[in-house]
């Protein structure tokens, strides 16, 4: 019987291949949506893991998380410098690290922060001890292709600064972070004081253009302050876009979050914000899933149509089989087995294709965002494929039943 099926498939090899590809692409689409969505969820959750509590100026929670955790460039309202000082002196806080952005170099974001935070992210190689001990130092993320000793001249986002070349801070790469599988792998970390200095200058130059004396004075003052970097902070701290807080205990985390949810400040658990984001993402997934199911239904309809046409073409052949004494069950089996073979092959190819597609997409996204997307094939995916196969088997039974019920005498007369 299987010989008969294979002989017929060989005879219609091209058509069978087209059907297999059709089913494979429809399956792959559904598969890729599942795998990619899960990878995105897991990947971003893991990326947010290291960030317990983020404090920023009142505004959008999502934007605060996207900017601080995922380093997505967006202008954030600055938080009063006092908040940073208060937080870092709070006994419930292990460390409070400012994150200052706005500059970039070769497309890598330059993030101003403190040595504590750099240590907390983990260093893979270091030249200086401790990191970010002086203003001209930079620690690069694992994914930044700059070697130690490389000189970084930040590109300022603010206008007018390019002209003042003598003001520009030059950083030298002195160390590299261990891989974190987060967007921070693409960041260049510098002392927050450097970012403040650059931006103060920008503001000065902008506000008081031509007053060179003031500039010089300001420069001098900052350098004096820069003799010692990081906390404890002086009284007149400039503003920061966001503060990453590492509370000592979970209870502290909740207390702090409550305390810093005020009129002017915002405190969020990135994990919580992400969960809310996922529910939005979940809707998107549902839409994508619906599209994938629609595609699968279309493919199923096309396959059914082809199967019926093929059956009509084989009507006499199947009638003859019956005339030679083949039982009706065997006729059902031949038609069903042939369809199942094609559909099964298509679904199997689709699973592999979907997995490969998701993997390629994830690699592309990782390169862009730095977020490592864990693409995995799980039991539930195979379950999904099994459900597809079961539905296909049920649909394939329709032409098989049609063949089963067909009168051989009528078929041979036609």
């Amino acid at each position: 019987m299987i010989r008969f099926v294979l002989a017929d498939l060989r005879l219609h090899a091209l058509g069978a291949v087209v059907i297999v590809l059709l089913i494979a692409s429809a399956t792959a689409l559904g598969m890729a949506v599942r795998i990619e969505e899960r990878a995105l969820r897991l990947g971003s959750a893991r990326a947010a893991d290291r960030f317990d509590l983020v404090v920023g100026a009142a505004g959008s929670e999502t934007q605060l998380v996207l900017s601080s955790v995922f380093l997505q460039p967006a202008p954030l309202t600055l938080l009063n410098g006092d908040v940073l000082r208060r937080l870092s002196e709070d006994p419930r806080v292990e460390f409070a690290a400012p994150v200052g952005f706005g500059d970039s170099f070769l497309g890598y974001p330059i993030v101003g922060t403190t040595a504590e935070f750099v240590e907390s992210l983990g260093l893979a190689e270091r030249a200086a001890e401790p990191p970010l001990a002086s203003l001209g130092e930079a620690i690069v993320g694992a994914g930044v292709r700059l070697d130690p000793g490389y000189e970084i001249r930040p590109m300022h986002g603010l206008p007018g600064q390019e002209a003042e070349e003598h003001d520009e801070i030059v950083y030298r790469v002195t160390g590299r972070l261990a891989p974190t599988s987060t967007p921070w792998d693409r960041a260049i970390l510098v002392p927050i004081e450097g970012v403040w200095k650059a931006h103060e200058h920008g503001d000065e130059a902008h506000d008081e253009a031509g007053h060179d004396d003031d500039d010089d004075h300001e420069d001098h003052g900052t350098e004096e302050a820069a003799a010692r970097l990081g906390p404890p902070w002086p009284d007149d701290l400039p503003g920061v876009p966001a503060i990453i807080v590492k509370p000592r205990t979970i209870a502290n985390a909740y207390q702090l979050r409550g305390e810093y949810r005020t009129e002017t400040t915002l405190a969020v658990f990135p994990g919580e914000v992400l969960t809310r984001l996922y529910s939005t993402l979940g809707d998107a997934r549902q839409i994508l899933t619906a599209i994938a199911i629609g595609t699968q239904a279309l493919a199923a309809a096309a396959v059914l149509l082809v199967a019926m046409a093929h059956l009509a073409q084989r009507r006499r052949q199947i009638g003859a089989l019956r005339a030679f004494g083949a039982p009706r069950v065997a006729v059902f089996g031949v038609v069903w087995a042939e369809l199942l073979l094609v559909v099964g092959l298509g679904v199997a190819c689709g699973v592999l294709l979907g997995y490969a597609g998701a993997k390629i997409l994830a690699i592309g996204l990782s390169r862009q965002s730095g977020i490592h997307l864990p693409v995995t094939l799980e039991a539930s995916d195979l379950g999904f494929a099994a459900v597809l196969l079961a539905v296909a088997a049920a649909i394939a039974a329709l032409p098989a039943i049609y063949a089963y019920r067909q009168s051989p005498a009528a078929a041979l007369r036609s």
Partner: protein
Amino acid sequence: MLSLSLEGVVVRFPDLAEPALDLPGLEVAAGSSVAVTGPSGAGKSTFINVVTGLERPSAGRVLWSGEDIARLSEAARDRWRARNVGLVMQDFHLFPGLSAIENVLLPARFRHIRLPAGLRDRAAALLVEVGIDAGARGIETFSRGEMQRVAIARALLLQPGVIVADEPTASLDGQSGAAVCALLTRLARAAGATLIVVTHDPALYGRLDRRIALAGGRRADALHAEAS
């Protein structure tokens, strides 16, 4: 070897006023050979369908050596046909993509999960007997005469008690037709099988013991009385 006895067989189709077949009585002795002739629409195909159990008559009994196949279920008739009937058809119904020997074995493959011992040898021997060298090439490369000879080998495979041939020479040229005629009658006789052949071919029905002429679904030959 099977004998056939039709008793009061009537076949009606829903959209026809006249019955397609109306045979009050007909006997075919076991091991004899009969030609069934008649113009198009005479009921020849219906006759074949009824005696092979492909179709159930609206009324009457179809007795093969005393067993009424008209009373059998569809599945039982399939089984009976597989066991007792060797079928040869006008357009062969060989299956492309399969070799000659696989075509000969095909009906057996649908009946057995594993082929009974010796069946493959028998198929090879039958192919030699009908003059086909059993190669692996697909059946679609054969000439029409060769195809019909493969079909005859297939009909003989399971040593049927009756061989039913429907216009076996109609789609062949004279020479191949003559070869098929000779082969069919010789092998049926050698196997001791009853042979029923629907044919227009005088060369073929001349070789057979008897001729039954049909017209409008009824006996049209002078031998009508002999049926008793």
